[in-house]
Subunit: 534 residues, 2 copies
């Protein structure tokens, strides 16, 4: 059975804190959603702001393969005709194949928020739907607060749906606007709505009780044939339902027909694309598509997964375009290293594997942790492989070479009375046989060191300009020793295509930062060179 997917990332999603799409972002996302077979794309609220208005003009120039663009608006004002309503006019001016009209279900909202009669609200719904329909649009009707309204006055709530359906709406969508309804109640109420109207029924959930996915699935199983939500569940408060999880569950667990064939394997890339566009950080633990969704730590699990992935995976990561990651953790053993190095195709060489394991364990004893620092692990493999019969190592792996030699560095921080401290770093590097001696101020010691390193290196490796640091974390490794303890610094860097983590450990936070910084730069240089060869 087909379930249609209605994406409102561009409208309801943009209500999320810190979410802000440019016009260009909105057009890019429309194209991307169309590519994976999303059925309906709600582009915005034309009356609300000029950017949404421009979007509807621009989107008409894009030829979409599958998706229909929808414009969103409210029912007409009270006690006035639909034909002259400014909101409905803006909605029609958007010239989309579908318009979605939101109206009131909850008797209390009608009288208290809207300040009108229950009968006039029914006429507002019917007139608005009928008018848009008469102008050649397909009309969807969003019943705001449907579940709360149904609790307060079930008979009236169903009447609002019937008003929309009778006036020509092809789908009436039940909205759990406040996100407070439990799954079994969702199923019961969807059933009642199905019995009350002849048209299709849809569902629109919010995640305030961490039940939006369960609620959407319960609604579909009770007969809803359209699911509204957003990519990555972005949206106001706790967000809208995450369509990615809904799609994966509907397709893989219940075998519904969703999106277009082959699109399921693009869910992970779509998730990350939306985060990048919205300028939000990825959620590593996000179901199905997160970087940790198929990550395995701990020797026993790792061993079992290597034997048979179904032991600790409910689906194959490839089904949703994600990948398995074996984390190198405190409990590392031979099996972790084998799995972790599989991509280098070095496994035929048992002695090399043993040396890598040995190196990892030595570093772990010093406080290193590679689970969030795969780039440092990558460099370690190259270093060990270089010392170990390099001529026998598979050609796929570029052996370690220092891209620069670290001669000296110095950092000085001075604070006077209550002024901002002054930080200066100097570094001396040897690059291609010559000494580069540079200095930089910075907001702090890491920033200053980063500045000095770049000054020395960009002349030789200009692509370092593409790279920036995105996160910096410090942990004490053996807290009982107080300030004299060892600290572990983890740095996350990125460029246009990748995000990578590196690690440094030292009793000195500056030295640990320096080690992680240098690794981040070296990894960038290795990965770019390898990519260029392919």
């Amino acid at each position: 059975m087909r379930v249609s997917i209605y994406d409102t990332t561009l409208r309801d999603g943009s209500q999320g804190e810190g979410v802000n799409f440019s016009l260009q972002d909105k057009l890019l996302l429309t194209r991307r959603l169309d590519e994976i077979g999303v059925d309906y794309i709600e582009g915005g609220y034309p009356l609300s702001n000029p950017k949404d208005f421009e979007y509807f003009q621009a989107v008409r120039e894009i030829s979409l393969k599958h998706a229909k663009v929808c414009a969103f608006g409210m029912t007409r004002r009270k006690n006035a005709p639909a034909e002259t309503d400014t909101c409905l006019k803006a909605l029609l001016d958007a010239k989309t194949p579908v318009v979605t009209i939101v109206g009131k279900t909850w008797d209390f909202h009608v009288t208290e928020v809207l300040g009108t009669t229950l009968d006039e609200n029914l006429r507002m719904i019917a007139d608005s739907v009928a008018f848009c329909k008469s102008q050649g649009r397909e009309v969807f009707y969003d019943a705001e607060h449907f579940f709360d309204g149904y609790r307060a006055n079930p008979e009236y709530a169903l009447k609002t749906l019937q008003a929309a359906a009778t006036a020509g709406a092809s789908v009436v969508i039940l909205c759990d606007t406040n996100g407070g309804t439990m799954p079994e109640r969702i199923a019961e109420v969807v059933g009642a709505a199905k019995r009350a109207v002849a048209c299709e029924v849809g569902i629109h959930c919010h995640n305030d009780c961490e039940l939006a996915v369960a609620n959407s699935l319960a609604a579909v199983r009770a007969g809803a044939s359209q699911v509204q939500g957003t990519m990555n569940g972005i949206g106001e408060r706790c967000g809208n339902v995450d369509l990615l999880s809904v799609i994966a569950n509907l397709a893989l667990k219940y075998k519904y027909d969703v999106l277009t064939p082959g699109s399921l394997t693009r869910l992970t890339e779509t998730s990350r694309y939306v985060y990048e566009l919205a300028n939000l950080n990825h959620r590593v633990g996000q179901p199905f598509v997160g970087a940790s969704a198929f990550a395995h730590k701990g020797g026993m699990h790792t061993h079992a997964v290597a034997k048979d992935p179904t032991t600790y995976e409910h689906i194959t990561p490839e089904a949703v375009g994600n990948e398995r990651r074996i984390l190198v953790s405190e409990l590392s053993g031979q099996s972790t290293i084998l799995t972790k190095t599989a991509k280098y195709e070095l496994n035929h060489d048992k002695a090399l594997m043993a040396k890598i394991l040995n190196a990892v364990q030595n570093l772990e004893n010093q406080g290193y942790e590679f689970e969030a620092a795969e780039a440092s692990f990558d460099l370690l493999v190259r270093k060990v492989a270089k010392e170990h019969k390099p001529w026998e190592v598979d050609k796929k792996l570029k052996l370690y070479q220092p891209w620069f030699e670290r001669v000296t560095y110095r950092v000085n921080i001075e604070a006077r009375e209550n002024n901002t401290p002054i930080t200066e770093a100097t570094v001396r590097l040897k690059i291609a046989g010559q000494i580069e001696h540079t200095a930089s101020e910075g907001d702090g010691p890491v920033n200053a060191l980063d500045g000095a390193l770049r000054k020395a290196l960009v002349r030789f490796y200009p692509r370092l300009n593409e790279m920036q640091l995105v996160d910096y974390k410090v942990r004490v490794v053996n807290p009982r020793a107080g300030t004299a303890a060892r600290v572990r610094v983890v740095i996350e860097s990125r460029d246009g295509t990748d995000v990578w983590g590196t690690v440094g450990v030292s009793e000195n936070v500056i030295e640990a930062s320096w080690l992680a910084l240098c690794d981040a730069i070296e990894y960038k240089l290795f990965k770019d060179e390898e990519r260029a060869k392919r």
Copy 2:
């Protein structure tokens, strides 16, 4: 009806990526979970690592009001007696009132991963439970992969539960280890388990399909009386079920009896405390407890909420200790401040409360967080109270006085080739009218600054010798700005009687550390003086 809450943040939660609790963290969290009425606290896996072993020794020294501590381990090895099994021995050596034993349900795992017969697996379960029971422990039995095992071989799966129950387990817990089961299936299988055993049935869910909360609720409604999970849902892959959401839904939506009376209003503070301990970022959109969970953006919503909050809120934020936020900001509100300052008995003075709130909001805007830094908050209250009609402030509170004036400091770090870097700090303080100028080397900049501070101060305040730093954490506050971002340093200090946290924020990690260090010292001096007076 009562549902018991079993927290495994310290064991299963610590399998999450980037999660790493120190021994001190584990003890602090145990105390905090006990305070809110968590019924069972799974402290660790005594055989797996020395830190867990030390934890069980140390936790016996803490007197808990309500919670029972549980040690976790596996069934005995195949073909060997329980009495001499090293894992079971370690489990019993932990000397906890409850032990939780995990065993295999899935026939395929028994033969393929464990490499034994189905009958021997049943004996392994029964023997292990019976042996621990004979040693005076209450025994819980975790049935790993129960739902997958039940699908493959329902008869055998139920036999494993019966083996545990007959041998004396008081609760058998059904684990959806891979997180792949749908809610209606959870309910069906819990029903079957309830019919098969006379003891209590529990549920343990993972969030791989974004259904862990729905699954846990479905299990309780089908008869499960214990829910296992973690605070904030931290854990491997997509995490364990978030107990905070489960608790809130059970208590507020289904009216079950959970935790201890009044604890529900502490859920939000508990969530933030766990994030700080685990050195993870808060999830602003987290249901119930996130900073955005009750945030209202958009004029229409805001207006309606101002008229009547139930228009866009499914519960009152205060029910879970959270707050409504109308403006887009991260700010604390009046009620938080009232709760936080209750112990000072200053509440009669509304104007003072408003000034404290204002000071906190200003600092929060700069990236401060006082959740794990109550000592810094304490100093702030003293400072604000001093400026505000000091003569009217209750005598219980010693007003702020600087114990020393900070004139200048300087830190220099120099590294040559591959040698250990040399770190030197100098500080100039004014104490009792005279300038103290001291210098110290250190393992790193914080250690060197700490050394120089102590050299200057111990002559005046010898009791600073009792104090040591036990933890040091750094977090980037606005990670997108890379190394130039602001960092928040949280320092944990202790002496013979107390543990206290302080915070500093700056673009410069050294300055942020300096601020947190100075606060730690001042708090020590205040608290000792007040104690001496009592």
